[in-house]
Symmetry: C2
Subunit: 409 residues, 2 copies
């Protein structure tokens, strides 16, 4: 008798499904399609020569260590470097506050594993990062969504949502995925006050924080929270778990991220990671450390900012040119994405079908809503192609809208 597989799966498996975005990728692989659907860094920014040199040095000088089993917490010099870099924003952080993860996605998964009971509510932004929803669906989370505006999550609506007793709050304060908006300093302080008052932790997801193209740096929630709780430089033990990644500053194909958290939480996350994959590739950790140790990434990110800023500007200009006056969009100060709001009469999934026929792709807004909504919205990525191709893609996309809006073209 064959195993009846569908009768064997766990209940949580019923909540799992493939990300709409990753499924969409398969449609957009033909070179004739201009795809704004992904969130890919520009491949031409990958520091290939530096990585080649780092691979050589690491394997020549520390080959036995790079290829052997290693500690679950991560490669110690890398954790020290991350702690130093975080501390320069003004927070008392030690390597014991750092867990190296296989991309920030694994950080989301481990947090889900350690915190979420089936049926637990998670307070999320509306819209929010689809990968977080995907990670937490498999722990049978439920969601409470709070809308965003141009200053980020609407903190005056957060307090009411907190009364539903969420397990934690999940926010992307810098150049939010999918909308590109940045949480204002005042709202950051308000969120921290609320978290403190209700004793509810905040998960701060910050993959894009280094990619600011204009405006002033705003301190991460974890740093601001550290100041609130600071007593004579005692190590951080506040309410925020902070996630970041080397995917946007070095290369996503390495799969390398980290979590900053109070030491007692790191200990739990380490136990979860042991069962999940023992540890992240030592070779990858040591190569990333070797590339980054002398400050290379600070210089490298400056170049990336120049490139991406130009692309963002190209997309904003093209949107003004080719999109109908009924549409509006965000003007992000950094990151990878612009968020477009179409007239409510338009369904972005229908727009996508027409767009694919015109060889251009994007992600419809519904993918990013935990509790429905976003039908007339769309996420556009501007990081992975040259300005002339961005303009051509927006021209194609703008070209399909009038017909769907019932205008004469």
């Amino acid at each position: 008798m064959h195993t009846l597989w569908t009768q064997r799966y766990a209940q949580r498996t019923q909540r799992m499904h493939s990300s709409a975005i990753r499924e969409l990728f398969k449609l957009t692989e033909q070179p004739s399609v201009i795809s704004f659907a992904g969130g890919l860094p520009a491949a031409e920014t990958f520091p290939i020569v530096e990585l080649q040199e780092a691979c050589q040095r690491v394997l020549a000088e520390h080959g036995a260590q790079a290829l052997q089993y290693g500690p679950t917490e991560g490669y110690r010099p890398l954790r020290e470097m991350i702690a130093r870099h975080t501390a320069r924003y003004g927070i008392a952080i030690t390597p014991d506050h750092i867990l190296v993860t296989s991309g920030a996605q694994q950080g989301l998964d481990l947090i889900g594993k350690v915190f979420i009971n089936p049926g637990d509510r998670i307070l999320v932004e509306q819209p929010t990062y689809v990968g977080a929803l995907q990670a937490w669906h498999s722990y049978q989370a439920e969601y409470v969504s709070v809308p965003l505006d141009a200053e980020g999550v609407q903190t005056d609506l957060v307090e009411a949502a907190l009364r539903s007793g969420p397990k934690f709050l999940y926010v992307l304060p810098n150049f939010h995925n999918p909308t590109g908006v940045t949480l204002s300093l005042a709202r950051r302080m308000k969120l921290l006050t609320l978290a403190n008052h209700y004793g509810v932790p905040i998960i701060e997801d910050d993959p894009y924080g280094q990619l600011r193209y204009e405006g002033e740096h705003v301190s991460p929630l974890v740093v601001l929270d550290g100041r609130v709780h600071a007593h004579d430089d005692t190590p951080y033990s506040g309410n925020v778990l902070y996630l970041s990644t080397f995917s946007k500053t070095l290369a996503p194909g390495l799969r390398l991220g980290w979590i900053v958290a109070p030491v007692e939480v790191i200990e739990r996350l380490v136990q979860a990671k042991q069962g999940a994959d023992l540890h992240t590739s030592m070779l990858v950790q040591m190569v990333a450390y070797e590339v980054a140790r002398d400050g290379f990434l600070d210089r490298h990110v400056r170049d990336i900012r120049v490139l991406y800023r130009e692309r963002r500007d190209a997309m904003l200009v093209a949107l003004c040119h080719y999109f109908p006056p009924e549409a509006s969009w965000t003007e992000p100060q950094g990151g990878l994405f612009i968020w477009v709001t179409l007239p409510p009469a338009l369904d972005a999934t229908e727009v996508l079908h027409a767009a694919l026929a015109a060889n251009v792709a994007f992600v419809p807004g519904t993918a990013f809503f935990a509790q429905g909504g976003g039908q007339h919205m769309m996420r556009l990525n501007f990081s992975c192609m040259a300005p002339d191709r961005i303009e051509e893609g927006i021209r194609r996309l703008g070209g399909v809208l009038p017909r769907l809006l019932g205008h004469s073209a």
Copy 2:
């Protein structure tokens, strides 16, 4: 108010704890300690030059692909190669039957995520691999244990255990961790018959299958099952999920393994992996493929076998020399471990304390028992040191036993 972290964790977190073995490592890091506690491959076998060349070639020729986001299923040529290698044992396998994982440990975790509801029973060998228990504890599994003997799991006891309705059977048929025993062909066939009869899947964990030092190759369960279910070379759709790894044939620090499973199960595992870490490092996958593509690993494993066989023999000889006649041990045909049974009056944890004072370490048997037992047993690893050091370690270890046995030394 600070978050009351211990009040926030999920119920499953109460089952998580650090592996006794990994905690023990911290005690055994001093070079004066001869440690048989780990399961480390010999670092001198790591093909550093080949990996350096592969890193150079991959980054020079395919840098943009190696450093960009990739498919969750894994790097296509690597999946094709694994499918080809598996198929040469005589099973109709395609790349669609393969999921690349971040080490075999992630395979265990993903299987737990997709299959285990809280309270589900898993049929395991007694003793069994501690990393599997650690992965599945966090899905709140319960266990039904079936003892092993020199031919592997006692299949005449499996049928009664199957009546408890386990979600799946978990076996390590080749050079079992921790005991070193190999499941006989007759018992493999019996297990497959039972699995087929009860419609219960088998998880076949085979990290050491390539490391046979003597005796005849026995086909993996998945291959034998493929023959049972074969109809004119239709692709495999039987009852076995097969796990393996490059950790023992190439290097564990890469964190690279794979699952072979029916296509419909792979699809579910892919969804789980998307949420867990998006995909395994593309750089690592492409470098491993580059090293392995021309058959290098087949030649390389021949050298590893010669080295490990010599070490196994050194340990067996030393055990005869230095251990009391009341002790017995397995004589594995491959793998990394020998399993020692002391007289029942001895407690291996007490032996460990005495051993550490004599600068020698091992893992007490209790770590490997899902439902208690193994107090007078110990696991010894022989792969990671030279024969003279193995002899010296066994001499030290044998030296502490007579006193604990109440003999005059």
